[in-house]
């Protein structure tokens, strides 16, 4: 992770302007290790299922991988009614890489993110996060409605282990980062959809995450707000060296943002394509290059959907 600049410096402050206490970095390290243990949950650590003993020890990620998803399957239900949501999905993301996951309905995109976030356990296979902290963002902002924007972020900071004295200041910095400087005192219902989603982004950043999982985060926003949030996200991603797994069903959005676009098949979800996006940033959603690549990917996506029609 040493290749990533600016990781240890406080948000949006020049390196060295205000050093973070060393003890915290150590504590974070311990926490991250714990987290990794939690996330790399094989079936045997769940104390159920009858997968072989070799799957008890999920392969750990190589140092040049922020996330490694190996042969992950997820089945919901049992017997003939069981639905295979994910079928031996393997995928990895390098530190600082922006990976977009795309697929038609039922490709298990959201399931995959839940697994990586540790909200659910894979039926088989392993997920290693290489000691990185993971934050998850949803299509809905999922802010706590009884807390102001500042308090929402402070709660995430608190859960991360930031001291009380530091929280207020950090929350204000995070709000600045998402251009919501003056809105800390507002409650979610007093903000617009785009503003709420930015608070959610700030909250995710407040979790000291190295890996940001985003589940169609801008799907419910109007086009102009979404375009602006693309710029905000891209800036933050670059500046903070985040690794991003971004799920979307909008191909152009994936091409606009991703270093790679990974195509998943539907029912069961499986990786069927991996496109490298070699376009200069910043990209426009409507620029010719973006559209060209999007058309190519869309064609394959369409084939996949047609396959389910026959």
């Amino acid at each position: 992770m040493s290749v990533i600049p600016d990781r240890a410096a406080p948000l949006d402050t020049p390196p060295g302007a205000s050093a973070r206490p060393d003890s915290r970095r150590i504590r974070l390290g311990a926490r991250a290790a714990q987290e990794a243990g939690q996330n790399s949950a094989g079936p045997n650590s769940a104390g159920q299922n009858s997968a072989g003993p070799d799957s008890a020890r999920p392969d750990s990620a190589r140092p040049d991988e922020a996330i490694r998803i190996s042969e992950v399957s997820k089945t919901f239900g049992r017997g003939p009614a069981a639905v295979v949501a994910l079928d031996r999905v393997s995928l990895s993301a390098a530190p600082g890489e922006f990976v977009c996951l795309i697929g038609a309905s039922g490709c298990g995109k959201s399931t995959l993110l839940s697994l990586v976030a540790g909200l659910d356990r894979p039926t088989s296979g392993g997920i290693a996060t290489n000691g990185n902290r993971v934050a998850l963002m949803f299509q809905e902002p999922a802010l706590f409605p009884w807390l102001t924007a500042t308090r929402n972020i402070e709660l995430a900071l608190r859960a991360t282990g930031v001291s009380r004295a530091e929280r207020r200041e950090r929350a204000a910095e995070l709000l600045e980062l998402v251009h919501l400087g003056g809105f800390g005192g507002k409650r979610p219902h007093e903000l617009s959809g785009g503003m709420r989603q930015r608070v959610a982004l700030a909250r995710a950043l407040g979790q000291e995450a190295d890996v940001l999982l985003m589940d169609e985060p801008f799907g419910a926003l109007d086009a102009m707000t979404r375009d602006l949030l693309h710029e905000v996200l891209e800036g933050l991603w670059r500046r903070r060296g985040l690794t991003v797994l971004f799920v979307t069903h909008e191909v152009r959005e994936a091409v606009r943002l991703g270093d790679r676009v990974v195509l998943l098949s539907s029912r069961p979800g499986r990786v069927i394509g991996d496109f490298k996006v070699d376009l200069d940033r910043p990209r426009g959603m409507d620029s010719a290059n973006t559209v060209d690549l999007a058309i190519k990917i869309k064609a394959q996506l369409r084939e996949e959907v047609i396959r389910h029609g026959s």
């Binding site: 600049p5 600016d6 949006d12 402050t13 020049p14 390196p15 839940s114 976030a117 540790g118 909200l119 993971v134 934050a135 998850l136 949803f138 809905e140 999922a142 802010l143 706590f144 409605p145 009884w146 807390l147 709660l155 995430a156 608190r158 859960a159 991360t160 600045e176 980062l177 251009h179 919501l180 400087g181 809105f183 409650r187 979610p188 219902h189 007093e190 903000l191 617009s192 785009g194 503003m195 909250r203 979790q207 102009m224 707000t225 602006l228 710029e231 905000v232 800036g235 670059r238 500046r239 940033r281 910043p282």
Partner: protein, 299 residues
Amino acid sequence: MAVDTSAHGTPPTETPAAAIAGLDNLDLVQVTPRRRLPEKIWVAAWPKLLALAIVLGLWELVYLSGWKSPAVFPGPATVLPDLWGQAHHTLLWSAIGTTMKRAVIGFGLALIIGSCIGALVSRIAPLRAAVGSLITGLQTMPSIAWFPFAIIFFGLNTSAILFVIVLGAAPSIANGLIAGVDYTPPLLLRAGKTMGLRRIALYRHLILPASLPTYVAGLKQGWAFAWRSLMAGELLVIIANTSSIGVLLSNDQDQTDMPGAISIMIVILLLGIMVDGLFNIADGRIRRRWGLADPASAR
């Protein structure tokens, strides 16, 4: 705004800040300004005053029709001066004091017991299977049916009354909390868990605040049950040498003092409305905080 200080050395191409600020200003609709206090009071008061006038008018009409003799059915012109007179005696106020003290103690006990039971039952699945429906059953059971038991068990004293208040109110409070916990939005639970909230922290920072509106609704219903149980109790459990609202009402019955009885009933009604008002204020605050109330319709 945010200046790029990245070690990448890549300057931001064009800051979206200005466009974002513009959109934000367009998005934020100014909420209707708050009314001034006198205006607020008037807006809240006039429909109630009108309703009161209509009730008094109908009452007077029935009285004037001569349907019942004035001794059995006195008009407002007899009752209201009687109430006014009682309001100048310490007897009524000490009775109100006794009754409200019981109400507060009884409701307080119900609050503690109901909340504890609710917290446990919402958390422990087998316990819920065991007593969940029992709690609802208790809630529907008329509290007056408990008095023979309470009087034999505790004797004719305050404990018997408090016991029945608790039985009346605690199930509603417990159910309110259980429902609140059950209806914590799953998405918020997921968000809380990804943030790293676990166990007690999850309860304290997410589940309890999320269940607050439903819990307060349960408290309000619990209060209604407590107040009814208390009135029934004070009429049934007459304790020597204490004056309470129930005792005054009972005395009026013994002396066939209809104006007195109606006066006390008005007092009971007013007390109930006042406490209900307090709950409504709490409820309104929470709703506004949560964004559940439409600011345009909230006057």
